[in-house]
């Protein structure tokens, strides 16, 4: 990269929970408008990586620079104000609040009420089912609808970059298509994306670059097409757990 510095630059990032090291010395960058994906099996440290970038868990070591400013030490609430939004694993929509209230909470940092209302209306036009259910508790939505709501909620902060943690988890394949369609639209609006997935095939179709993560480290990284063809991919993905993973498959 010879042009401008990347939007997000992570170097030497480690995350520890007591004696357990979940992420060890990871380097990662995401450019303006780029889609980068981190794939890897369950327990590889992907969620911890995103949680550290978002400020949910402290980094034990390393630097996180977003849009030229270090993020470390910033309060959790500040990260979204800097333009970095997160859709966590399991979606974490507010089940007792209505669809509309969930979206309004997504716009917590904004002061332009008119703009927020316009953004919400636009979203309801794209997803009329959610529009019809705007007054219903979000807990009544299906899993796929909840995932769409969670993404839309994050977008209402007008982020420069969106981090998605396992957006396809627990959803039927056709529903996942809908979720990834929305991801594509987000990208088309110029928002950079960092997508963490177990479902590697899903992200090969949309990502510019892919990192493979295993046991807290990146074992492989490159453009999506390179990684997909790389004969080391399967071994890198499954890592030491290869036997367990194939053994437990039906």
């Amino acid at each position: 990269m010879t042009k401008q510095p990347p939007l997000l630059e992570v170097s030497g990032l480690s995350v520890r929970y007591g004696a357990v090291t979940a992420v060890r010395g990871v380097d990662l960058s995401v450019g303006e408008g780029e889609i980068v994906s981190v794939v890897g099996p369950n327990g590889a440290g992907k969620t911890s990586l995103l949680a550290a970038i978002a400020g949910i868990v402290p980094a034990a070591a390393g630097r996180i620079v977003f849009a030229g400013n270090p993020l470390a030490g910033t309060g959790l609430e500040e990260v979204v104000a800097r333009g970095l939004a997160l859709v966590p694993e399991g979606r974490h929509i507010f089940a007792s609040l209505t669809v509309l209230e969930n979206l309004m909470l997504g716009a917590t940092i904004r002061r332009d009420g008119e703009g927020v209302r316009a953004d919400i209306e636009r979203f309801f036009q794209t997803f009329p089912i959610l529009g019809q259910r705007r007054r219903q508790p979000a807990g009544q939505l299906s899993g796929g609808e909840q995932q769409q709501l969670a993404i839309a909620r994050a977008l209402l902060s007008r982020p420069r970059m969106l981090m998605l943690d396992e957006p396809s988890l627990g959803l039927a394949p056709t529903v996942v298509d809908g979720v990834y369609e929305l991801v594509g639209e987000v990208h088309a609006q110029g928002v950079a994306l960092l997508v963490v997935e177990q479902n590697a095939e899903r992200v090969f179709g949309i990502a510019d670059r892919v990192y493979v993560m295993n046991c807290g480290e990146f074992s492989l990284g490159g453009s999506a097409t390179e990684i997909r063809r790389d004969p080391r991919f399967d071994a890198a993905y499954f890592g030491l757990n290869m036997q367990d993973a194939t053994g437990s498959a039906p």
Binding site: A54, P88, L97, E101, G139
Partner: protein, 294 residues
């Protein structure tokens, strides 16, 4: 019949007081998972403020009680609970006991433990006649104040940005913060609101009993806490309903039990509580998202 209406009025007004107290506890539990027994001392200190300002114009006394309720609520949050923000609920509970005892003993040290008479707004003790039924003016005022506070609180939670943030934070605090909701602001707001509720209860209870003493708040809070539990911990409608039912229940038992077992009415209230918890352990109106915390 007339007698029954009078008992009912009594039950409604006592129920309202417990509902307001339970709401104060429920608000804090909702956002912080803290069972704040020091809520009682907010009531007590507001009451002593009325005593200290006695003789001054009514608006000054009421404003003073309100200011002390809010300021003390914010001060306990800042000094005692903020440093324990991420502690587990047991630690928070124990520290709330510590704050409660500390404030109570502080009061004893400053003004003594003796009960003090306070003839605050005696005109509200007057009886008024409403279609043949004689009601105490204070009972009507108590119910009216409670309704105003309930409606006001509901409006705040439903119609304001900060209220929405509080509801979101009560369900999933971490996610609310990820979206930019400021933890300090939301929690301070909850404490300030609990201070307002405590001050209101304090004024009403002082008018009703005509005395102040250092343990007055804690006694109310323990019963009201039982109300929040049967209503469903963490649910505000549940807290209001549970507190109300406990108050109504104790007054009805007081009136309807045969005189020789009347002294045990509390035991009957708690039998009722035990039955509710046996059949609805999650409370009458369970809270959403209480189990789910990242």
């Amino acid at each position: 019949m007339k007698e029954f209406v009078q008992i009912l009025a009594d039950a409604l007004s006592v129920g309202s007081l417990y509902a307001l107290t339970a709401l104060g506890i429920g608000l804090i539990f909702g956002v912080m998972r803290l069972i704040n027994f020091a809520h009682g001392e907010l009531i007590t200190f507001s009451a002593y403020t009325l005593l200290a300002l006695f003789g001054l114009p009514l608006p000054v006394m009421l404003t003073g009680a309100l200011a002390v309720g809010i300021a003390l609520a914010l001060a306990t949050e800042r000094a005692a609970f903020r440093p324990l923000r991420n502690a587990d609920p047991t630690t928070l509970l124990i520290s709330s006991f510590a704050v409660s005892f500390f404030l109570q003993k502080l009061l004893v040290l400053l003004v003594g433990s003796r009960l003090k008479g306070l003839n605050f707004l005696p005109e509200l003790g007057r009886k008024v006649e409403l279609s043949g039924v004689r009601l105490q003016l204070l009972q009507i005022v108590t119910v009216a104040v409670s309704i105003v506070l309930l409606v006001g609180l509901t409006w705040f939670l439903r119609a304001t940005r900060l209220g929405l943030q509080m509801r979101g934070a009560a369900e999933d605090f971490r996610m609310a913060r990820v979206l930019g909701v400021r933890a300090n602001r939301v929690i301070a707001t909850a404490f300030a609101l609990s201070g307002i509720l405590a001050a209101a209860v304090s004024c009403l209870i002082v008018i009703q009993t005509g005395v102040v003493q250092p343990r007055m708040g804690l006694q109310l809070v323990i019963i009201a806490f039982v109300g929040t539990v049967i209503g469903g911990l963490g649910s505000l409608p549940g807290a209001a309903l549970g507190g109300f039912l406990v108050g109504v229940g104790s007054i009805l038992l007081q009136a309807l039990l045969p005189p020789d077992i009347r002294a045990f009415r509390e035991a009957f209230v708690f039998i009722g509580v035990a039955l509710v918890l046996l059949f609805r352990p999650q409370g009458l109106i369970p809270a959403a998202g209480l189990r789910e915390r990242i």
